[in-house]
């Protein structure tokens, strides 16, 4: 049996309470870390090969290594609990079921990078997760895991919850910083990268909830134990959330490298009776779609999915069955991305809105011959031409849905109606 790194407490009743978490071995890795130098903690995380779980997959230890230690300015940690990518609901599971694991991981990271103030940015809609976290943070203060002179180690850390107010773009790291600073969530031009110039102009690390929650295991068991799980370039386990018409939608922790078909058949129980698989979006709604045939061939790791022309992203799997129209699916996503565009860059603001208008028309049976190529053209002009990758997050689905399911788009245009009434 594989070690569970993230979900081992999910079946333990009341694991969100500090006493229960402690009984499962919680906060022991903190004691261990305080016996190490911060640089040794960073080294261990580098050796583990842990990659960021928020979407981009950037190596965590390497990111921490970019933080300059000699600027005289405070160093901040921002914990990204904004989870808003359609199809993704894995962080919420950690926040609700095992918040202390995240808090412990956040303390480990803060200690490693020399941070004394951390902000946990949580999406405004999350009510139960927020209440669980508020309680857990209070408990951690009472137990001396947060605050002044933590566990007598002479290290201080404050952790504050900061509630978002409904904007998908605030999950993008620089938009998150702007939002925390009390502004509209407009992504910033990079460089400078947050590690050098982030929150309030100070060095800042931004990590995803799942990334930080893997740290207690890595410090407790060591990088070697972590690396034994997963593949060489994608070590460890990952949470995958599976939704759509499958028998058992939900959040599953599996070793990276597992065949996708295993996740779908064994963990998610296969499709609901009578439904046939048409397509899967593997990394949250913004990545290129896979056909049923491609699903059979890919493995769940960063390299395999990239080789198959898609991305692992956030690990949110959206399953689409033969009875659902791909034009309709893309129209829905175009609405999402046009609604959520922050509006700073014209290719994104105009491109997402225009794509939605065209698709809506096509979906309603009023598409024109030239629309399909026009959509592809708009997508091409959006991608790579903007401050953040939200524009690409629609351009990639446009290109892949049309490339792989072009006949459905042509049918809409030609017959002036949907294939799936």
């Amino acid at each position: 049996m594989m070690d569970l790194v993230l979900t081992k407490n999910f079946t333990t009743p009341n694991a969100y309470q500090v006493e229960v978490y402690e009984k499962t071995g919680g906060y022991q890795s903190l004691r261990k870390a305080f016996g190490m130098k911060p640089t040794e903690v960073i080294e261990e995380v580098k050796k583990s090969g842990l990659r960021g779980r928020g979407g981009a997959g950037f190596p965590a230890g390497m990111k921490w290594g970019f933080v300059p230690q000699n600027t005289g300015k405070p160093i901040y940690l921002c914990i990204n609990a904004d989870e808003s990518e359609p199809g993704t609901f894995k962080d919420r599971a950690i926040l609700e079921k095992d918040p202390h694991r995240l808090i412990e991981g956040s303390i480990l990271c803060s200690y490693a990078i020399g941070c004394h103030t951390a902000y946990l940015y949580i999406r405004g809609e999350f009510d139960l997760p927020r209440r669980r976290l508020e309680e857990a943070i209070q408990e951690a203060y009472q137990k001396g895991y947060l605050g002044k002179n933590i566990l007598g180690a002479g290290y201080n850390l404050d952790l504050y919850l900061h509630r978002g107010a409904g904007a998908y773009i605030c999950g993008e790291e620089t938009a998150l910083l702007e939002s925390l600073e009390g502004k509209r969530g407009y992504p910033r031009i990079k460089p400078p990268f947050p590690a050098v110039q982030g929150l309030f102009g100070c060095p800042t690390v931004i990590n995803n909830v799942e990334t930080l929650s893997a740290l207690p295991y890595i410090i407790e068991r060591g990088a070697e134990a972590y690396k034994k799980i997963g593949t060489e370039k994608s070590p460890g386990t990952k949470l995958f959330s599976v939704c759509g018409p499958v028998k058992k939608p939900g959040v599953y922790e599996v070793p990276l490298g597992l065949p996708l078909r295993t996740l779908l058949r064994e963990q998610a129980g296969g499709l609901q009776d009578g439904k046939v698989l048409k397509a899967v979006v593997p990394g949250g709604s913004s990545v290129p779609v896979l056909t049923a045939q491609e699903v059979e061939q890919v493995n769940l790791d960063y390299e395999s999915l990239q080789a198959a022309g898609s991305l692992l992203g956030s690990g949110g799997f959206i399953v689409i069955d033969e009875g659902y129209c791909m034009v309709r699916a893309l129209t829905n996503l175009a609405h999402f991305y046009s609604h959520e565009s922050c509006g700073q860059c014209s290719p994104c603001r105009e491109g997402t809105g225009w794509s939605y208008q065209i698709l809506k028309r096509m979906e309603a049976g009023r598409g024109e011959e030239r629309d399909i190529d026009l959509l592809l053209d708009i997508g091409r002009k959006m991608s790579g031409a903007t401050i953040c990758v939200l524009a690409d997050a629609l351009a990639m689905p446009i290109a892949s849905y049309i490339a792989k399911f072009r006949h459905e788009f042509e049918y809409h245009v030609r017959e002036k109606k949907c294939l799936f009434p």
């Binding site: 405070p74 809609e125 404050d158 107010a165 502004k183 959330s241 759509g244 939900g250 959206i318 309709r328």
Partner: protein, 157 residues
């Protein structure tokens, strides 16, 4: 008399300000405190926050309009926010939304005449595996069907 923060709100604002190196960073938390007290973010509320945080009303207005959860007009007693994004659509949120519109006799974004229900569609609530999903005020309801929605409406007194 112009709008004022209650004593409780004022205490919470004081506490909040200690957490950030700038007053401006307290803007979202203060919006939440204000929305809890006044129900929505009116022009008067914006001016009140502007005075309290030494920010320009224009900046505050700009921020308020960016975030969908900050209400720019009052909502009914129960604010039904139904997810409309793809995973929920795959599980049938369209018929749920249609049902609610007909049952309440309102369109999206509207409030019933008795001020009891406001219906809004929103983007992904991170309940995609238990869709269709909706939020009523702060509470999540998941795995919805029209029948279940009807029961919920009846429970909301």
């Amino acid at each position: 008399m112009s709008l004022q923060f209650s004593e409780t709100s004022e205490q919470r604002i004081e506490e909040t300000l200690k957490r950030y190196p700038t007053k401006q960073a307290a803007l979202l938390p203060v919006f939440w405190i204000a929305q809890e007290q006044f129900g929505w973010i009116s022009q008067e509320t914006i001016e009140l926050i502007a005075r309290r945080l030494d920010l320009s009303p224009a900046h505050i207005y700009g921020v308020a309009t960016f975030y969908t959860m900050l209400l720019k007009k009052p909502a009914g007693k129960y604010h039904l926010q139904v997810c409309r994004t793809l995973p929920c659509a795959l599980m049938g949120c369209d018929s749920l939304i249609g049902y609610l519109k007909e049952r309440l006799g309102i369109e999206e974004g509207e409030t019933t005449d008795d001020k009891k229900f406001t219906l809004t569609t929103v983007e992904c609530l991170a309940s995609c595996g238990t869709g269709p999903a909706m939020m009523v005020n702060e509470k999540y309801y998941e795995n919805l069907t029209c029948e279940r929605a009807e029961e919920i409406l009846k429970e909301l007194k």
